[in-house]
């Protein structure tokens, strides 16, 4: 079932509390410029923190519609919007108590409640915001894409609890569907091959060697091409198996233009064998082989910028992704599926609670911080044309990212500033590339 669900999304960092949205809203709905009767509210916070707008999110659970005793609120099944019929409302305030998002706005004197109605589809507040803090977004790309698709991996893959790489692999398989062959070398996710007599996946999985993943899958693809079968051939490998051991075969496959999709899930060390440093382990990070002591202060080198190396191969499509942005990742996988000529490379950062030392529930937050600090920018390149898919306007300091995890606990202020400089330099290089590119067309080479 494909449904469209749109709601106003708030970018909290951009709001300045100027109230222009309220003025516009009150004008559209009430016919006067009066922020107090707007259907959007500005919540001021403690000093030093930016204010942010609160409004009805037309959320999934819709507890307001659930508890409403008069039926003034109901859920529109088609659009997911909360419909609020003011003439039925008796102002009992039950919804005020039930709504976890502080959506309904209570006008005590007039005994009225105000609820966002999305202006019938084109919210006026969005255009009114000078900072672009409000935007209308379709919320259901993931649900629509995966609603009827089978989960192709078995439960209990043997990954650590809350592993983001496991999520990434499962999600990838679900998006690509059953017409797929996966190749995987020894790495954390090798569990999808299976253990003993039980298989880990409902699709064929080739257990490759560490140095030849790309080459082997290229061979598998050629086999299917000979048979004139259109099968998606996907290689999934860790950062060690990609950046270090498997790099030459990947580079060769990219240069030959073998039509495989190579996904590197980057947890920034050899996590499967006990957290040894890899080529993508970042500067200053603790690992088992870059220990802390009198002399050792973590890894001495900055990580290998693997996406940039792959960019230089001029492949038809490549991208970076992060589990914290599943919609972004989904869009990139869909693009990767379209490529019928040449290699596709996707580099996904998967925060690792075991190796990075944080508790599982922080994984998504850390992934988000990696993007928001520009530590791991989200971008894609079609035919070598770099384009950001998540533009970070006000990058957070790298400390926001490093303080979340144990592998960086030892960093001094000076070491953090060195890391900050390295991250900034890397980002500037990418920024320059994205600006230098003229042709940002969506045409994927293989489509022609």
């Amino acid at each position: 079932m494909t449904t469209v669900r749109r709601k106003i999304v708030v970018d909290r960092d951009r709001c300045t509390g100027c109230k222009l949205c309220q003025i516009e809203c009150s004008f559209v709905h009430e016919g006067g410029f009066q922020p107090s009767v707007a259907r959007i509210r500005i919540q001021h916070r403690e000093e030093g923190q930016s204010p942010f707008p609160l409004l009805c999110l037309h959320c999934e659970s819709q507890e307001c519609a659930f508890v409403c005793p008069t039926g003034a609120r109901r859920k529109e099944v088609e659009t997911g919007q909360v419909i609020f019929e003011e003439n039925k409302c008796v102002h009992c305030k039950m919804c005020l108590l039930a709504c976890p998002h502080a959506g309904p706005i209570d006008l005590q004197e007039e005994e009225r409640l105000l609820v966002c109605d999305l202006c019938g589809g084109e919210p006026a507040c969005i255009d009114a915001c000078p900072k672009g803090a409000l935007s209308l977004r379709d919320l259901r790309p993931i649900q629509n894409a995966l609603f009827e698709k089978e989960d192709l991996l078995s439960p209990g893959l043997g990954a650590c609890q809350g592993c983001t790489a496991e999520w990434a692999v499962r999600f990838t398989a679900q998006v690509f569907g059953p017409n797929t062959v996966v190749g995987i070398p020894p790495c954390c996710m090798a569990g999808i091959v299976g253990f003993g007599t039980s298989a880990g996946a409902k699709i064929p999985v080739v257990f490759t060697l560490l140095p030849n993943t790309a080459a082997m899958m290229a061979g598998v693809k050629h086999h299917f091409l000979r048979q004139k079968r259109d099968v998606l051939v996907v290689a999934i490998a860790g950062d060690g198996g990609t950046a270090d051991i498997g790099l030459q075969s990947l580079s060769a496959a990219a240069e030959r233009g073998d039509n495989i999709i190579y996904i590197c899930y980057d947890n920034e060390a050899y996590m499967n064998t006990g957290i040894q440093r890899s080529g993508t382990t970042p500067l200053g990070s603790w690992t088992a082989t870059t220990p802390l002591g009198e002399a050792g202060r973590g890894k001495k080198q900055m990580s290998k910028d693997l996406p940039m190396i792959m960019l230089a191969h001029n492949i038809p499509y490549m991208a970076t992704a992060c589990p914290s942005y599943p919609e972004d990742y989904l869009a990139k996988l869909e693009k990767a599926k379209q490529v019928k000529e040449g290699l596709v490379y996707i580099h996904i950062l998967t925060p690792c609670q075991t190796g990075w030392q944080f508790s599982s529930e922080k994984a998504m937050e850390i992934g988000r911080l990696a993007v928001e600090t520009n530590y791991f920018p989200l971008w894609e390149a079609v035919d070598g044309n770099v384009c950001f898919t998540k533009q970070v306007d006000f990058p957070k300091p790298i400390e926001a990212f490093t303080r979340m995890m144990g592998r960086y606990r030892h960093l001094t202020r000076q070491e953090i500033s060195v890391l900050q400089k390295a991250v900034d330099a890397r980002y500037q290089r990418l920024l320059a590339l994205s600006k230098s590119v003229k042709n940002k067309g969506e045409s994927l080479r293989a489509k022609e």
Binding site: T70, M94, L97, P100
Partner: protein, 417 residues
Amino acid sequence: MKKEEHIVIIGNSGAAINAVKGIRLVNDTCSITLLSQEPHHAYSPVLTTYLIGGKVTRNQMSLADEAFYQSHRTECRYRQRVISLSVPDQKIFIEDGTAIDYDKVLIATGALPNPLDCDLPRGLQVFTLRTIEDAEKIRSRMSNWKDVIFAGAGLVSTQVANALKKYLRRMIFIVGSDQILSQNLDRCASGLIQKRMETEGGTFLFNRKILRVQESQEGITVHTDQGEAITGNALIVGKGVHPNIPKIVPEGSVKVNRGIRVDRWMQTSAKGIFAAGDVCEAIDLISGEYRVTPNWPNACFQGLIAGQNMGGGEAIFEGSLAMNVTTLFGLPFASVGEVRNHSGEDRETSVYLDESRGIYKKWIFQGDRIIGAIMLGDIGENALVAEIIRRRMLIAQKKKALRAYPSKAASILSGLL
């Protein structure tokens, strides 16, 4: 082929209607029979006071109509009084002599108002408020009323008084405890409401027990245990509610304490028998003890969860949360969670009072959690606080700020969600 299950729901209000929705979320094939004692469609009991006040019409109170029952493929039988339930035979016997087989049954019979604990002369009319008929009875008589006596000053009495205030000259409350709304608010908040009510004709007699009720010229005379005789045109009893545990609940097979004891799946101690709504005694979100928490959102959630479990799905009830929000005499107030009991080693409170603006706020902490909140006058942050309480969030860092600036809860807590 496997025989389709037959689910019987006794009751027809918030919990029952949501149970139907819950069953149909997970199960399209089973048959559902709804047994309602009342002769009409489900309506919303929350709105009965609004009906008295004339803010809604009877039609607007309808929760479910024929179209709802049809689209959910539910057979709704009205005027069905269940007389007994046989667990080993899985049969329900109805007053008119018929028997219904069931596979699963939901008891959602709601609550009944507590009666006045003294003898009433025969034929004397006292009013309570629970059903739509009660509300219409009050509405049809109230035009001749000038002075009304209320027994008890809980939410029902005060809300009825709020609805009637424009017709009445005096409202006399005879209260057993020493404050109004003792179940919902602390002394300070109820004091503020009491003051407001006194300016609009409210009179309060605390720590009184009603000994006798007599018919008199004006209507009714009430004698208290302190020797007073109070006369008025009518007596409205609002002394709380108790679970309407039907006599049919088989003794011994279903555990009954104050309400029908249910587990986190809303199942009673007898397999296949579920209970939800005001009749049941579910686990409390904050204390973790079994407690009857009669309020509308709880009944709805419990019904939905019981329905999903009966239909063959699985849903877990996280626990009931006491909460109330309403406006009395122009004063909005909300209370969430544990608001009365704040003695205890690790419990702390933080209070803000601005009498000139009529704003009172109180946050009750246990350890690093907020477990209760009272907001009066300005209830802007109630949704936020309710959600923080519901999620049992640890707010150690914010607690200090909140204790120092209790009036700024919205800005202190807003970043958490």
